[in-house]
């Protein structure tokens, strides 16, 4: 009997894994189960292009019906998996179907963290295409929109709201923006850009309560100020979808716990994307969970090979981007692994930061500016990071020395 692989979650990681199974020659059955009504689609545009589209937006589909048919992938849409029976090697769906698997991939993603505040019922969040459509209807000119949370989602939505003519306020509890992942100097540049675009940034501010009123709300800050607005959107982080794995008794550690092959604590079950944590050999086996498009795609590809028995460890360098206005923020590697920061001038008032370990090993690079200014050098830095290159700080700071030359050194 031919082998059966079931994938739970039809986002970037799940859809990519389904395709990669075929690209790697798998001839058994592939079943992709997603809880949304759509074909698999890209999430990055949800906080950008979908909101700013002039006409009615459509999802940017990853797979078409024709591609699914051509690759003999069965997509079950609008279907929730309710249980995994590890002993029987089967999953049960919300409509009562029981599907047997030989190997299983969990690509269940993450969900927005909800505000635990009195009066927060009417607050909007962003994860799915339907969330984006709901947000879009709120982002009309002159409306007063408050973004709670100064992370990537909050700031991308702040930019989108400004571009649609809203009056925008961002409230962040921490004393600065982007505290989780971005060096302070880059975060300060991002803050300057938002301020220049007319966004009011309120940092280091706790929220006491939200009071709903007719057609709007009032936010009461711990410091006493009240902010009246017409709509509130929260982007305060995401929680990995682990309930199914937990109920099945799989190990959990800030997400579904996977090893360097993306294998969970059950040898026949793998995990990929936002839902899982895994060790990065590049950083001494440090366990991370990455909520990023590239990671979802790379892990989808990797998990497919692992499901088919490949034994190489997952070794991609973390990389992500965030578009705000006409600028892009890009980070390769993990900046907090660095102990020295070197600034490299990229021209036109633009620069990148290179983060080095004590032994000069390049561990991360970060930059904010026009994509055309920063993308090439961040990409080269990413390759240097992957090779564990130890460039001299003077060389990486030398704008006259093309970074590409260090690749061949």
């Amino acid at each position: 009997m031919s082998e059966r692989i079931v994938i739970i979650g039809a986002g970037e990681a799940g859809a990519r894994a389904a395709m990669a199974l075929r690209e790697n020659g798998f001839t058994g059955s592939v079943t992709l189960i997603g809880d949304e009504p759509h074909l698999p689609y890209e999430r990055p545009p949800l906080s950008k292009a979908v909101l700013n589209a002039v006409d009615d937006p459509a999802p940017a589909f990853i797979l078409s019906e024709a591609t699914l048919t051509e690759h003999d992938i069965t997509l079950m849409r609008g279907t929730v998996v309710t249980a995994i029976d590890r002993a029987a090697h089967s999953v049960t769906t919300s409509d009562g179907a029981v599907l047997a698997y030989d190997r299983l991939l969990l690509a269940t993603g993450a969900r927005p963290r909800r505000l635990a505040l009195p009066g927060a019922d009417g607050v909007l969040y962003l994860r799915s295409f339907s969330d984006a459509l709901a947000l879009r209807s709120h982002l009309t000119p002159e409306r007063r929109i408050v973004l709670i949370g100064g992370g990537f989602i909050g700031l991308e939505l702040a930019a989108a709201a400004r571009m649609r003519g809203c009056a925008v306020t961002v409230i962040e509890m921490a004393p600065r923006l982007l505290r989780r992942a971005v060096p302070e100097a880059i975060a300060a540049e991002v803050a300057r850009r938002h301020a220049a675009e007319g966004v009011r940034l309120i940092l280091g501010a706790g929220i006491e309560a939200i009071e709903a009123g007719a057609g709007g709300a009032t936010i009461r800050l711990a410091q006493g100020e009240t902010i009246a607005c017409d709509g509130i959107i929260a982007g305060i982080g995401a929680i990995p979808e682990t309930a199914l794995a937990e109920a099945a008794g799989l190990a959990i550690d800030n997400g579904i716990k996977a090893d360097e092959h993306l294998r969970t604590s059950d040898a026949d079950i793998f995990a990929a994307g936002d839902c899982c944590s895994f060790p990065l050999a590049l950083y001494g086996g440090r366990r991370v969970r990455l909520e990023a498009w590239r990671n979802a795609q790379d892990q989808g590809n990797h998990a497919a090979r692992a499901l088919l028995g490949a034994s190489e460890p997952y070794a991609a360098v973390p990389w992500f981007w965030s578009d705000q206005y006409d600028a892009t923020l890009q980070i390769a590697g993990l900046p907090d692994e660095g102990t020295q920061t070197v600034r490299r001038d990229l021209g036109e008032d633009c620069h990148m930061l290179l983060h080095l370990a004590p032994d000069n090993r390049l561990v991360a690079a970060s930059a904010f500016g026009p994509n055309g200014r920063i993308a090439k050098d961040v990409r080269i830095a990413e390759m240097l990071i992957g090779r564990q290159a130890r460039p001299s700080p003077a060389d990486v700071a030398n704008a006259g020395l093309p970074l590409k030359r260090l690749l061949n050194a």
């Binding site: 990519r16 940017a60 590239r294 994509n371 993308a375 080269i380």
Partner: protein, 109 residues
């Protein structure tokens, strides 16, 4: 069969304006192109936007004969326009190039 499609040669840039193993953007008549200089000093031209999400390829990195999209790492062989795997699956359109008196000319149809 002899092709009868008329090609218009358009002066895009000076040959030495592009570094070896690099790319520049060239806009002409409302269209955008990418012009490449390979490591072995040959010149090529393609459409300027990635077939995946309309990102300017000239912002991407050239490695040997491959251009990599700066957003999603879609890869193309810029000599033939061939897409080299996910997330890109649609090939890039290519254009003929000739070098005359130190200038790069691209042939547009």
């Amino acid at each position: 069969m002899t092709s009868t499609i008329a090609v218009t040669w358009v002066d895009a840039c000076a040959a030495d304006e592009i570094d070896e193993e690099d790319v520049i953007r060239f806009d002409h008549a409302g269209r955008t192109f990418a012009i490449f200089r390979s490591p072995d000093d040959a010149y090529f031209a393609t459409d300027g936007l990635c077939t995946h999400e309309k990102v300017h390829l000239a912002d991407g990195l050239v490695m040997d004969n491959i251009i990599e999209c700066p957003k999603h790492n879609g890869r193309f062989d810029y000599r033939t326009g061939a897409a080299k795997g996910a997330p890109v699956c649609v090939d890039l359109k290519t254009y003929p190039v000739r070098i005359e008196k130190g200038r790069v000319l691209i042939g547009l149809d």
